[in-house]
Amino acid sequence: MPGLEDLYREIILDHHRNPRNRGELAPPASHAVGHNPLCGDEIDVYLDVTDGIITDVKVGGQGCSISQSSASMMSQAVKGKPVDEVRALVRRFKGMMSIPDEDGNPIEPDPAVKLGDLEALQGVVKFPVRIKCATLAWNTLLEALEQG
């Protein structure tokens, strides 16, 4: 079994303790709620999208350290970014989480897309049950984008 230090990196615990971009955005901001049916965690993602740019993002809800820190890092990573770039980032992140693409094939990492701090979540892949925790915020982000 891989050690817990692979999972609970310091930067993750930091985002867990001090989550960034917590809060809500009022309509017309788009809003999606994601559920992790395994553990009952819920995440709210609020987005302001103007001219194809995510101008603001807020995160609400409750969850474990992995889902909370992933959501916090996600919010930092997407704020101010064009939607296209964000979609590429989601893809890259899912690839890191060993999630296959639509056709069930592995996602090749696109070197143009930078993960930055998000690399710290790499260790989650060794704990397959926690992958759903790490991706919850990202799937909810995609849903919020659909509405935008």
Partner: protein
């Protein structure tokens, strides 16, 4: 006599139960259309799993549970490959094929059928593909139409397009459990779609014996059971096209199938969980996976070839030995039939016949085979049925023939 590429003695040696002797002579198990025996590898996979890896799946986060979940979901992938479906989550585990067909009737049926809507069945369906539709006749007032049979027990497709005209669903077996007839599934799916109906395939008898390819068929649903293909009892499969499954309301409600539950309502989980309420047959899924590995090891093309050989041998042996004294139902052309034979013999009631055969350790089923409408169509109350599988060979045909002869001594009148 056979040119099969399977070494049946070696295959048979892998089935512990078939090593059993009853009253001093070996068992000749000819009831696999009813339920099949289990190879060593399936029994061992289940035992191993219960001894080393049993744990809740999809619910708990600890390593043991993750291992169990991997094995359970691994079985789903094996099923998906075995029937060449596109997505793992199109594969829903049920308790048996009967539940699979009821799921379609309850969930798809209730959402899509109203009074006067037409569902087309065939005259050779198993009760599992009749009664759920009868219930919708009672409840919703739908109309059933029946594809008739030719005299040699194939589907009579002459008026198919008329029957399908305006139909919403066409639900048919890919192989008859009574006659052995293999139906032209691809053609039937195309005909259904041309009429705007969905195509529901009862694969109970087909999947264990043939290469299955739901994409080549262009089917919409496929139902089958594990226990007929060397796997354990207690688990069945419903495969369905993603778009259809996604659009359907849930069937059984409870744990695992929900995204959220509040005091005032609930929302459903994504596929396949949406249709898998409660704790699934965990150990059984692992056993089913092992059964598919076993069959893949033999090669489904070889299995089919072997059964064609046995069927051809059975037809020639039984008709040569007994002439008009035996009446085999179903087609004689082994290209369109499997190795399942219903027959009448010298006017002896099937129940009496199976009793006498049992005295020689030959296990055949006597009865209506859960196909009473077909029995009525054939003009009989019951038939005797001998069904052959991967562990049977032409010698078993000879034993059956000898045992039949002995029946005449008692009932020779």
């Amino acid at each position: 006599m056979t040119h099969s590429s399977l070494d049946i003695a070696a295959v048979k040696a892998q089935f512990p139960l078939l090593q059993r002797e009853l009253n001093g002579s070996p068992l000749v198990y000819l009831d696999s259309a009813n339920t099949s025996q289990k190879p060593r590898t399936v029994i061992d996979a289940m035992t191993q799993f219960m001894e080393h890896s049993y744990a809740p799946i999809n619910r708990s986060a600890y390593q043991l549970a993750a291992e169990a979940t991997d094995q359970f979901e691994g079985a789903r992938t094996k099923v998906r490959r075995f029937i060449n479906a596109r997505r793992d989550h199109e594969v829903v585990f049920t308790k048996n094929a009967t539940e699979s067909l009821n799921l379609v009737a309850y969930s798809w049926g209730r959402a899509n059928l109203a009074a006067g809507d037409v569902v087309v069945l065939t005259e050779m369906e198993h009760h599992a593909n009749i009664v759920p539709w009868h219930m919708l006749v009672q409840e919703k007032g739908i109309e059933l139409r029946w594809v008739p049979l030719t005299d040699d027990g194939q589907l009579d497709l002459t008026d198919l397009s008329t029957l399908l005209d305006g139909a919403k669903a066409f639900s048919f077996t890919a192989m008859s459990n009574v006659l052995g007839t293999i139906t032209p599934v691809q053609q039937l799916c195309a005909a259904a779609h041309a009429a705007g109906a969905i195509a529901i395939v009862d694969g109970c008898q087909y999947v264990p014996h043939n290469i299955t390819d739901v994409q080549a068929w262009d089917a919409d649903f496929l139902a089958f059971s594990s226990h007929k293909l060397c796997g354990p009892s207690g688990i069945g499969v419903l495969w369905g096209r993603e778009e259809l499954l996604d659009a359907m309301p849930p069937f059984l409600g409870g744990g695992n199938m929900i995204a959220d539950v509040r005091f005032d309502g609930f929302t459903t989980a994504p596929l396949p969980a949406k249709f898998e309420a409660g704790t699934p047959p965990i150990t059984e899924a692992v056993g089913l996976g092992a059964a598919l590995d076993f069959l893949n090891g033999l090669g489904m093309a070889n299995v089919r070839q072997h059964e064609m050989d046995v069927a051809a041998y059975a037809i020639s042996t039984l008709t040569e030995r007994f002439g008009d004294d035996i009446q085999l139902h179903g087609p004689c052309n082994v290209e369109v039939r499997g190795a399942t034979f219903s027959f009448a013999f010298r006017g002896i009631h099937p129940h009496d016949l199976s009793q006498v055969l049992d005295q020689r350790n030959v296990c055949v089923r006597a009865g209506h085979h859960c196909a009473k409408p077909l029995m009525r169509r054939l003009g009989v109350n019951a038939t005797a049925r001998a069904s052959f599988y991967v562990y049977n060979d032409t010698h078993d045909v000879d034993v059956l023939a000898d045992a039949l002869d002995s029946a005449t001594d008692i009932f020779g009148f």
